[in-house]
Symmetry: C2
Subunit: 113 residues, 2 copies
Amino acid sequence: MTVDADPLTATFAALADPTRRAILARLTRGEATVGQLAEPFDVSLPAISKHVKVLQKAGLIEQTRRAQWRSCRLRPEPLRDLATWMEQYRDFLGDSLDRLDQYLTDLQKGDRS
Amino acid sequence: MTVDADPLTATFAALADPTRRAILARLTRGEATVGQLAEPFDVSLPAISKHVKVLQKAGLIEQTRRAQWRSCRLRPEPLRDLATWMEQYRDFLGDSLDRLDQYLTDLQKGDRS
DNA sequence: CCCATACTTTCCTGTATAGTTAATTAACTG
DNA sequence: CAGTTAATTAACTATACAGGAAAGTATGGG
């Protein structure tokens, strides 16, 4: 993957790492600082910092600065785009996408994105 | 990504390439040989052959040999696993829709009854 | 049997990524 | 203002991946 890949590619690339997926999953339970995100993992803080940066570049999270802490939180757009991308496989997959599809149907009616 | 990554990681990594995603999309329209898959792209056949191998290793496609042709077709499991993985973000994505989403959800309930 | 067809594999190059430690930036604290 | 805390950046290593050219492997046809 090149540095400035298209958004979907950046999203998939960002998610192609268990540590980054774990970070995302952690963030569904609320905001966290980089240090807090690093805790469960057996890697250095700089390593986590870089993972956070990748997630940020993909638009999956955003950071807000509060004093010397950087609070991270999830952003929905890339995951929605992923769901949209998956739609093209709905017929092929059959009804296993039903819940996802239902969500997207709602989304399309109400959201201009 | 390491060579023998977990299935989800392999799936995301396989999808983190526009050429491979295009190959998958092509296969929703039916089986195709490696040569046919290569046609729309401006890369060598070996390059496509390698992409196909990555998709295969991720379980996204399977190849069956017919004479000297390798016919490729989609396999559903990895995409279903992806949809399952996404389920954990459903609440988060839903919540981001605010009142408008709620309105549309209500509206849809009304349509159905 | 030899040759064409359809791929795949090997070898090579350039670039990207994950991780490390050490140094740096930034903001608060006494 | 010196020191501590939080996190990023820099420099480096090691591995992975995309791509091409060239050689290798099957398979079927004349």
